[in-house]
Amino acid sequence: MTPVKKREAYTVSKVRVATTSLAGCFGCHMSFLDMDERIVGLLEHVEFSRSPINDIKHCEPCDIGLIEGALCNADNVHVLKEFRENCKIVIAVGACAINGGVPAMRNHFTLQECLEEAFLDEIGVDNPHIPNDVEIPLLLSKVHPIHEVVKVDYYLPGCPPSADAFLKILTDLLEGKEPSLPKEMLHYD
Protein backbone atom coordinates (compact mmCIF):
# COMPACT_ATOMS: atom_id res chain seq x y z
CA MET A 1 0.00 0.00 0.00
CA THR A 2 1.36 3.37 -0.97
CA PRO A 3 1.61 5.82 1.86
CA VAL A 4 -0.97 8.56 1.81
CA LYS A 5 0.76 11.79 1.00
CA LYS A 6 0.29 14.56 3.44
CA ARG A 7 -2.13 17.02 1.92
CA GLU A 8 -0.40 20.17 0.81
CA ALA A 9 -1.72 23.61 1.56
CA TYR A 10 -4.43 24.50 -0.92
CA THR A 11 -3.25 27.18 -3.29
CA VAL A 12 -5.02 28.70 -6.23
CA SER A 13 -2.65 29.00 -9.14
CA LYS A 14 -2.67 32.53 -10.38
CA VAL A 15 -2.64 33.66 -13.97
CA ARG A 16 0.84 34.87 -14.81
CA VAL A 17 1.00 38.18 -16.65
CA ALA A 18 4.06 39.81 -18.16
CA THR A 19 4.20 43.35 -19.52
CA THR A 20 6.79 45.34 -21.40
CA SER A 21 7.28 48.60 -23.20
CA LEU A 22 9.14 48.57 -26.52
CA ALA A 23 9.40 51.82 -28.51
CA GLY A 24 6.72 53.62 -26.57
CA CYS A 25 6.27 56.20 -23.85
CA PHE A 26 5.12 53.94 -20.98
CA GLY A 27 1.78 55.75 -21.16
CA CYS A 28 -0.04 52.44 -21.54
CA HIS A 29 1.58 51.19 -18.33
CA MET A 30 0.59 54.39 -16.57
CA SER A 31 -2.95 53.91 -17.83
CA PHE A 32 -2.88 50.31 -16.58
CA LEU A 33 -2.01 51.63 -13.12
CA ASP A 34 -4.92 54.07 -13.44
CA MET A 35 -7.14 51.19 -12.38
CA ASP A 36 -6.07 52.29 -8.89
CA GLU A 37 -7.41 50.13 -6.07
CA ARG A 38 -9.00 47.76 -8.52
CA ILE A 39 -5.51 46.36 -9.06
CA VAL A 40 -5.82 44.76 -5.59
CA GLY A 41 -8.79 42.72 -6.76
CA LEU A 42 -6.94 41.83 -9.93
CA LEU A 43 -3.91 40.63 -7.95
CA GLU A 44 -6.06 37.97 -6.29
CA HIS A 45 -6.14 36.26 -9.68
CA VAL A 46 -2.99 37.53 -11.33
CA GLU A 47 0.72 37.60 -10.60
CA PHE A 48 3.25 39.59 -12.57
CA SER A 49 6.28 38.04 -14.20
CA ARG A 50 8.59 40.32 -16.19
CA SER A 51 7.24 43.81 -15.94
CA PRO A 52 8.48 47.35 -15.34
CA ILE A 53 6.02 47.29 -12.44
CA ASN A 54 8.26 44.87 -10.51
CA ASP A 55 11.49 45.35 -12.49
CA ILE A 56 11.86 41.66 -13.42
CA LYS A 57 14.05 41.63 -16.52
CA HIS A 58 13.23 38.37 -18.30
CA CYS A 59 10.01 36.78 -19.35
CA GLU A 60 9.36 33.33 -17.86
CA PRO A 61 6.59 31.08 -19.12
CA CYS A 62 3.40 33.13 -18.72
CA ASP A 63 -0.25 33.07 -19.59
CA ILE A 64 -0.68 36.62 -20.85
CA GLY A 65 1.83 39.10 -22.27
CA LEU A 66 0.81 42.75 -22.57
CA ILE A 67 3.07 44.56 -25.03
CA GLU A 68 3.13 48.30 -25.39
CA GLY A 69 5.22 50.14 -27.99
CA ALA A 70 6.45 49.53 -31.51
CA LEU A 71 9.65 47.98 -32.82
CA CYS A 72 12.39 50.52 -33.43
CA ASN A 73 15.59 48.63 -32.59
CA ALA A 74 17.09 45.14 -32.42
CA ASP A 75 16.51 44.86 -28.67
CA ASN A 76 12.77 45.53 -29.15
CA VAL A 77 12.65 42.61 -31.58
CA HIS A 78 14.58 40.40 -29.13
CA VAL A 79 12.25 41.24 -26.22
CA LEU A 80 9.18 40.76 -28.39
CA LYS A 81 10.34 37.31 -29.52
CA GLU A 82 11.09 36.35 -25.90
CA PHE A 83 7.53 37.33 -25.02
CA ARG A 84 6.05 35.38 -27.90
CA GLU A 85 8.00 32.26 -26.97
CA ASN A 86 6.94 32.46 -23.33
CA CYS A 87 3.39 33.80 -23.38
CA LYS A 88 0.36 31.76 -24.29
CA ILE A 89 -1.55 34.91 -25.19
CA VAL A 90 0.09 38.05 -26.58
CA ILE A 91 -1.89 41.28 -26.49
CA ALA A 92 -0.77 44.30 -28.53
CA VAL A 93 -1.54 47.27 -26.30
CA GLY A 94 -1.90 50.80 -27.61
CA ALA A 95 -1.44 52.61 -30.89
CA CYS A 96 2.37 52.08 -31.11
CA ALA A 97 2.15 48.30 -30.81
CA ILE A 98 -0.77 48.17 -33.23
CA ASN A 99 0.28 50.51 -36.05
CA GLY A 100 3.57 52.10 -35.00
CA GLY A 101 1.90 55.13 -33.47
CA VAL A 102 3.95 58.23 -32.77
CA PRO A 103 7.37 56.44 -33.02
CA ALA A 104 6.45 55.49 -36.60
CA MET A 105 6.38 59.16 -37.52
CA ARG A 106 10.13 58.83 -38.04
CA ASN A 107 9.35 56.56 -41.00
CA HIS A 108 8.83 59.75 -43.01
CA PHE A 109 12.58 60.24 -42.88
CA THR A 110 15.68 58.13 -43.42
CA LEU A 111 17.50 56.84 -40.38
CA GLN A 112 20.47 59.00 -41.33
CA GLU A 113 18.30 62.12 -41.38
CA CYS A 114 16.89 61.25 -37.94
CA LEU A 115 20.33 60.62 -36.41
CA GLU A 116 21.82 63.75 -37.92
CA GLU A 117 18.92 65.87 -36.71
CA ALA A 118 19.07 64.46 -33.17
CA PHE A 119 22.81 64.26 -32.63
CA LEU A 120 24.47 66.70 -35.05
CA ASP A 121 22.17 69.46 -36.27
CA GLU A 122 19.69 69.99 -33.45
CA ILE A 123 19.97 73.35 -31.70
CA GLY A 124 21.86 73.07 -28.43
CA VAL A 125 23.70 69.84 -29.26
CA ASP A 126 26.91 69.66 -27.26
CA ASN A 127 29.83 67.64 -28.68
CA PRO A 128 27.99 66.65 -31.85
CA HIS A 129 28.60 63.01 -32.79
CA ILE A 130 26.41 60.03 -33.57
CA PRO A 131 26.66 57.56 -30.66
CA ASN A 132 28.30 54.29 -31.58
CA ASP A 133 28.64 51.81 -28.75
CA VAL A 134 28.13 48.03 -28.67
CA GLU A 135 25.78 48.55 -25.71
CA ILE A 136 23.36 50.55 -27.86
CA PRO A 137 20.91 48.36 -29.76
CA LEU A 138 21.02 48.83 -33.51
CA LEU A 139 18.16 50.90 -34.84
CA LEU A 140 15.82 49.41 -37.42
CA SER A 141 15.59 51.43 -40.61
CA LYS A 142 11.84 51.74 -40.03
CA VAL A 143 9.56 51.47 -37.01
CA HIS A 144 7.13 48.55 -37.23
CA PRO A 145 4.03 47.44 -35.36
CA ILE A 146 4.50 44.16 -33.50
CA HIS A 147 2.11 42.03 -35.57
CA GLU A 148 4.51 42.33 -38.50
CA VAL A 149 7.06 40.23 -36.54
CA VAL A 150 5.12 37.87 -34.26
CA LYS A 151 1.61 36.49 -34.09
CA VAL A 152 -0.59 38.70 -31.94
CA ASP A 153 -3.64 37.17 -30.31
CA TYR A 154 -5.58 40.25 -29.23
CA TYR A 155 -5.47 43.99 -29.79
CA LEU A 156 -6.24 46.69 -27.25
CA PRO A 157 -6.27 50.02 -29.13
CA GLY A 158 -5.95 53.48 -27.63
CA CYS A 159 -3.30 56.05 -26.85
CA PRO A 160 -3.42 54.87 -24.18
CA PRO A 161 -6.24 52.36 -23.68
CA SER A 162 -8.24 53.35 -20.60
CA ALA A 163 -7.80 51.50 -17.31
CA ASP A 164 -11.35 50.23 -17.83
CA ALA A 165 -10.31 48.74 -21.19
CA PHE A 166 -7.34 46.95 -19.57
CA LEU A 167 -9.59 45.62 -16.85
CA LYS A 168 -12.21 44.51 -19.36
CA ILE A 169 -9.82 42.52 -21.56
CA LEU A 170 -8.09 40.91 -18.55
CA THR A 171 -11.38 40.11 -16.80
CA ASP A 172 -12.76 38.54 -19.97
CA LEU A 173 -9.66 36.35 -20.29
CA LEU A 174 -9.71 35.41 -16.59
CA GLU A 175 -13.33 34.37 -16.97
CA GLY A 176 -12.41 32.27 -19.97
CA LYS A 177 -14.39 34.45 -22.36
CA GLU A 178 -13.38 35.78 -25.75
CA PRO A 179 -12.30 39.38 -24.99
CA SER A 180 -14.46 42.10 -26.46
CA LEU A 181 -14.42 45.85 -26.03
CA PRO A 182 -17.71 47.70 -25.76
CA LYS A 183 -18.08 50.52 -28.32
CA GLU A 184 -17.61 53.28 -25.73
CA MET A 185 -14.17 51.91 -24.80
CA LEU A 186 -12.95 51.64 -28.40
CA HIS A 187 -10.64 54.54 -29.16
CA TYR A 188 -7.56 54.96 -31.31
CA ASP A 189 -6.47 58.16 -29.57
Binding site: A95, P145, E148, C159, K183
Partner: protein
Amino acid sequence: MNKTIKIDGVEIPFKEGQTIMDAALAADIYIPHLCHKPGLSPHGSCKLCTVDVNGRAASSCTMPAAEGQEIENDTPALNEVRKTITQMLFIEGNHLCPSCEKTGDCTLQAIGYHLGMLDGHFPQFYPRREVDASHPTLVLDRDRCIMCELCVRASRECDGKNVFAISGRGTKRHLIVNSPTGRLADSDIELDDLAAHICPVGAILIKDHGYEVPIGRRTFDLHSVAETDLDEVILTKARHHDEGDDSGEKEGGVYGV
Protein backbone atom coordinates in the same frame (compact mmCIF):
# COMPACT_ATOMS: atom_id res chain seq x y z
CA MET B 1 -48.39 55.17 -55.17
CA ASN B 2 -44.95 55.26 -53.64
CA LYS B 3 -42.31 53.05 -55.10
CA THR B 4 -40.40 51.03 -52.52
CA ILE B 5 -37.22 49.07 -52.00
CA LYS B 6 -36.42 46.69 -49.17
CA ILE B 7 -33.30 47.17 -47.07
CA ASP B 8 -32.63 44.32 -44.63
CA GLY B 9 -36.28 43.37 -44.89
CA VAL B 10 -37.56 46.88 -44.13
CA GLU B 11 -39.64 48.44 -46.86
CA ILE B 12 -38.72 52.07 -47.56
CA PRO B 13 -40.01 54.50 -50.19
CA PHE B 14 -37.86 56.16 -52.83
CA LYS B 15 -38.31 58.85 -55.43
CA GLU B 16 -37.37 58.40 -59.06
CA GLY B 17 -33.73 59.37 -59.57
CA GLN B 18 -32.67 58.59 -56.01
CA THR B 19 -29.81 56.22 -55.38
CA ILE B 20 -30.08 53.45 -52.80
CA MET B 21 -27.92 55.61 -50.50
CA ASP B 22 -30.24 58.63 -50.90
CA ALA B 23 -33.30 56.52 -50.11
CA ALA B 24 -31.60 54.86 -47.14
CA LEU B 25 -30.41 58.17 -45.64
CA ALA B 26 -33.89 59.66 -46.09
CA ALA B 27 -35.31 56.68 -44.19
CA ASP B 28 -32.68 56.99 -41.41
CA ILE B 29 -30.92 53.80 -42.42
CA TYR B 30 -27.16 53.99 -42.15
CA ILE B 31 -25.04 52.49 -44.88
CA PRO B 32 -21.35 53.03 -44.01
CA HIS B 33 -19.73 55.49 -46.42
CA LEU B 34 -16.77 57.83 -46.69
CA CYS B 35 -16.74 59.36 -50.17
CA HIS B 36 -20.43 60.22 -50.24
CA LYS B 37 -22.03 63.46 -49.09
CA PRO B 38 -25.61 64.40 -49.86
CA GLY B 39 -25.58 67.34 -52.23
CA LEU B 40 -22.37 66.40 -54.02
CA SER B 41 -22.33 64.17 -57.06
CA PRO B 42 -21.72 60.54 -56.10
CA HIS B 43 -18.24 59.17 -56.59
CA GLY B 44 -18.37 55.48 -55.73
CA SER B 45 -14.68 55.22 -54.86
CA CYS B 46 -14.46 54.13 -51.23
CA LYS B 47 -16.64 51.04 -51.70
CA LEU B 48 -17.63 51.02 -48.03
CA CYS B 49 -21.26 51.41 -49.02
CA THR B 50 -21.22 48.17 -50.97
CA VAL B 51 -24.53 46.35 -50.45
CA ASP B 52 -26.04 43.22 -51.94
CA VAL B 53 -28.78 44.18 -54.38
CA ASN B 54 -30.81 41.14 -55.32
CA GLY B 55 -27.75 39.04 -54.54
CA ARG B 56 -25.24 41.15 -56.43
CA ALA B 57 -22.73 43.55 -54.89
CA ALA B 58 -23.14 47.22 -55.79
CA SER B 59 -22.11 50.63 -54.44
CA SER B 60 -25.25 52.05 -52.93
CA CYS B 61 -24.16 55.65 -53.53
CA THR B 62 -24.12 55.17 -57.30
CA MET B 63 -26.75 52.45 -57.79
CA PRO B 64 -30.18 53.92 -58.64
CA ALA B 65 -32.99 52.67 -56.46
CA ALA B 66 -35.48 50.62 -58.45
CA GLU B 67 -38.83 49.09 -57.62
CA GLY B 68 -38.62 45.72 -55.96
CA GLN B 69 -34.93 45.73 -55.05
CA GLU B 70 -34.13 43.48 -52.13
CA ILE B 71 -31.05 44.92 -50.47
CA GLU B 72 -28.83 43.48 -47.77
CA ASN B 73 -26.90 46.09 -45.85
CA ASP B 74 -26.24 45.47 -42.16
CA THR B 75 -25.07 41.87 -42.37
CA PRO B 76 -22.04 40.28 -40.65
CA ALA B 77 -20.55 39.33 -44.02
CA LEU B 78 -20.83 42.82 -45.53
CA ASN B 79 -19.58 44.48 -42.35
CA GLU B 80 -16.58 42.15 -42.32
CA VAL B 81 -15.72 43.19 -45.88
CA ARG B 82 -16.20 46.83 -44.90
CA LYS B 83 -13.87 46.35 -41.96
CA THR B 84 -11.22 44.92 -44.29
CA ILE B 85 -11.63 47.92 -46.63
CA THR B 86 -11.26 50.26 -43.65
CA GLN B 87 -8.12 48.41 -42.52
CA MET B 88 -6.66 48.78 -46.01
CA LEU B 89 -7.44 52.52 -45.98
CA PHE B 90 -5.65 52.80 -42.65
CA ILE B 91 -2.49 50.92 -43.61
CA GLU B 92 -1.96 52.47 -47.04
CA GLY B 93 -1.74 55.99 -45.61
CA ASN B 94 -0.13 57.32 -42.45
CA HIS B 95 -3.15 57.32 -40.16
CA LEU B 96 -1.55 57.80 -36.76
CA CYS B 97 -4.57 58.92 -34.77
CA PRO B 98 -2.81 60.06 -31.56
CA SER B 99 -0.80 62.65 -33.47
CA CYS B 100 -3.67 63.94 -35.63
CA GLU B 101 -5.64 67.06 -34.80
CA LYS B 102 -8.67 65.54 -36.51
CA THR B 103 -8.90 62.65 -34.05
CA GLY B 104 -12.40 62.36 -32.66
CA ASP B 105 -13.78 64.28 -35.64
CA CYS B 106 -12.47 61.85 -38.26
CA THR B 107 -15.02 59.84 -40.20
CA LEU B 108 -12.52 57.13 -41.16
CA GLN B 109 -11.75 56.62 -37.48
CA ALA B 110 -15.44 56.63 -36.59
CA ILE B 111 -16.15 53.97 -39.19
CA GLY B 112 -13.33 51.93 -37.64
CA TYR B 113 -15.14 52.22 -34.31
CA HIS B 114 -18.49 51.41 -35.89
CA LEU B 115 -17.13 48.25 -37.49
CA GLY B 116 -15.20 47.19 -34.38
CA MET B 117 -11.81 47.50 -36.05
CA LEU B 118 -9.06 46.79 -33.50
CA ASP B 119 -5.98 46.66 -35.73
CA GLY B 120 -4.76 47.31 -39.26
CA HIS B 121 -4.27 43.59 -39.93
CA PHE B 122 -2.06 44.16 -42.98
CA PRO B 123 1.58 45.32 -43.01
CA GLN B 124 1.84 49.09 -42.93
CA PHE B 125 2.78 50.89 -46.15
CA TYR B 126 4.19 53.96 -44.37
CA PRO B 127 4.21 55.89 -47.66
CA ARG B 128 6.17 59.11 -47.91
CA ARG B 129 3.76 61.81 -48.89
CA GLU B 130 4.22 65.51 -49.27
CA VAL B 131 2.86 67.99 -46.75
CA ASP B 132 1.88 71.42 -48.04
CA ALA B 133 1.81 73.99 -45.25
CA SER B 134 2.34 76.96 -47.56
CA HIS B 135 -1.15 78.42 -47.20
CA PRO B 136 -1.63 81.01 -44.43
CA THR B 137 -4.80 79.41 -43.04
CA LEU B 138 -4.91 75.85 -44.36
CA VAL B 139 -2.59 72.87 -44.27
CA LEU B 140 -2.67 69.93 -46.64
CA ASP B 141 -1.27 66.73 -45.11
CA ARG B 142 -1.38 64.10 -47.82
CA ASP B 143 -0.41 61.41 -45.26
CA ARG B 144 -4.06 61.11 -44.36
CA CYS B 145 -5.65 61.58 -47.76
CA ILE B 146 -7.94 58.68 -48.68
CA MET B 147 -8.61 59.93 -52.23
CA CYS B 148 -12.35 60.26 -51.59
CA GLU B 149 -12.42 63.38 -53.78
CA LEU B 150 -14.88 65.17 -51.49
CA CYS B 151 -12.65 68.27 -51.62
CA VAL B 152 -12.33 67.91 -55.39
CA ARG B 153 -16.11 67.83 -55.81
CA ALA B 154 -16.83 70.50 -53.17
CA SER B 155 -14.39 72.88 -54.84
CA ARG B 156 -15.81 72.20 -58.29
CA GLU B 157 -19.51 71.94 -57.53
CA CYS B 158 -20.01 74.28 -54.57
CA ASP B 159 -17.09 76.69 -54.48
CA GLY B 160 -16.87 76.96 -58.28
CA LYS B 161 -13.07 76.90 -58.11
CA ASN B 162 -11.54 73.58 -59.15
CA VAL B 163 -8.71 73.75 -56.64
CA PHE B 164 -8.09 70.03 -56.26
CA ALA B 165 -7.70 66.91 -58.39
CA ILE B 166 -6.31 63.40 -58.01
CA SER B 167 -3.26 62.52 -60.06
CA GLY B 168 -1.31 59.31 -60.64
CA ARG B 169 -2.30 55.69 -60.23
CA GLY B 170 -2.08 52.93 -57.65
CA THR B 171 0.21 53.69 -54.71
CA LYS B 172 1.41 56.82 -56.54
CA ARG B 173 -2.05 58.36 -56.49
CA HIS B 174 -2.09 61.70 -54.77
CA LEU B 175 -4.02 64.91 -54.36
CA ILE B 176 -2.76 67.78 -56.51
CA VAL B 177 -3.48 71.48 -56.24
CA ASN B 178 -4.50 73.59 -59.22
CA SER B 179 -2.02 76.46 -58.99
CA PRO B 180 1.00 77.49 -61.09
CA THR B 181 3.41 76.11 -58.46
CA GLY B 182 1.23 73.24 -57.27
CA ARG B 183 1.24 74.80 -53.82
CA LEU B 184 -1.90 75.54 -51.85
CA ALA B 185 -0.72 79.11 -51.11
CA ASP B 186 -0.81 79.95 -54.82
CA SER B 187 -4.30 78.54 -55.41
CA ASP B 188 -7.50 80.54 -54.93
CA ILE B 189 -8.82 78.41 -52.06
CA GLU B 190 -10.12 80.41 -49.13
CA LEU B 191 -10.97 79.58 -45.55
CA ASP B 192 -14.70 79.93 -46.19
CA ASP B 193 -14.73 77.42 -49.03
CA LEU B 194 -16.55 74.16 -48.48
CA ALA B 195 -13.48 72.33 -49.81
CA ALA B 196 -11.50 73.62 -46.83
CA HIS B 197 -13.90 71.96 -44.38
CA ILE B 198 -15.26 68.86 -46.04
CA CYS B 199 -12.28 66.51 -45.61
CA PRO B 200 -13.53 63.43 -43.68
CA VAL B 201 -10.01 62.72 -42.41
CA GLY B 202 -7.21 65.04 -41.31
CA ALA B 203 -5.81 65.75 -44.79
CA ILE B 204 -7.06 69.35 -45.00
CA LEU B 205 -6.85 71.13 -41.69
CA ILE B 206 -7.47 74.69 -40.58
CA LYS B 207 -4.42 76.35 -39.05
CA ASP B 208 -4.51 78.06 -35.66
CA HIS B 209 -7.52 76.04 -34.51
CA GLY B 210 -5.87 72.99 -32.97
CA TYR B 211 -7.41 71.22 -30.01
CA GLU B 212 -10.11 73.82 -29.39
CA VAL B 213 -12.44 70.96 -28.48
CA PRO B 214 -10.65 68.58 -26.12
CA ILE B 215 -10.30 64.91 -27.02
CA GLY B 216 -13.18 63.08 -25.40
CA ARG B 217 -15.72 65.76 -26.29
CA ARG B 218 -15.35 65.65 -30.06
CA THR B 219 -17.98 64.64 -32.60
CA PHE B 220 -17.41 60.91 -32.56
CA ASP B 221 -16.67 60.80 -28.85
CA LEU B 222 -20.28 61.84 -28.39
CA HIS B 223 -21.97 60.50 -31.52
CA SER B 224 -21.90 57.31 -33.55
CA VAL B 225 -21.12 57.62 -37.23
CA ALA B 226 -24.32 55.64 -37.81
CA GLU B 227 -26.48 58.64 -36.85
CA THR B 228 -27.75 59.62 -40.27
CA ASP B 229 -28.34 63.28 -39.39
CA LEU B 230 -24.75 63.75 -38.33
CA ASP B 231 -23.71 65.80 -41.37
CA GLU B 232 -25.32 68.90 -39.85
CA VAL B 233 -23.44 68.27 -36.60
CA ILE B 234 -20.12 67.92 -38.39
CA LEU B 235 -20.65 70.97 -40.55
CA THR B 236 -21.50 73.29 -37.70
CA LYS B 237 -17.75 73.75 -37.74
CA ALA B 238 -17.81 74.74 -41.38
CA ARG B 239 -18.05 78.41 -42.15
CA HIS B 240 -19.35 77.94 -45.65
CA HIS B 241 -21.76 80.61 -46.80
CA ASP B 242 -21.50 80.19 -50.56
CA GLU B 243 -24.98 79.37 -51.71
CA GLY B 244 -24.48 80.65 -55.21
CA ASP B 245 -24.31 77.29 -56.88
CA ASP B 246 -25.64 76.75 -60.36
CA SER B 247 -25.07 73.03 -60.73
CA GLY B 248 -28.30 72.22 -58.93
CA GLU B 249 -26.52 69.22 -57.42
CA LYS B 250 -26.76 70.38 -53.86
CA GLU B 251 -30.44 71.18 -53.88
CA GLY B 252 -32.05 69.42 -50.98
CA GLY B 253 -28.66 68.38 -49.66
CA VAL B 254 -27.28 69.61 -46.39
CA TYR B 255 -25.22 72.25 -48.16
CA GLY B 256 -28.27 73.70 -49.82
CA VAL B 257 -29.68 74.79 -46.47
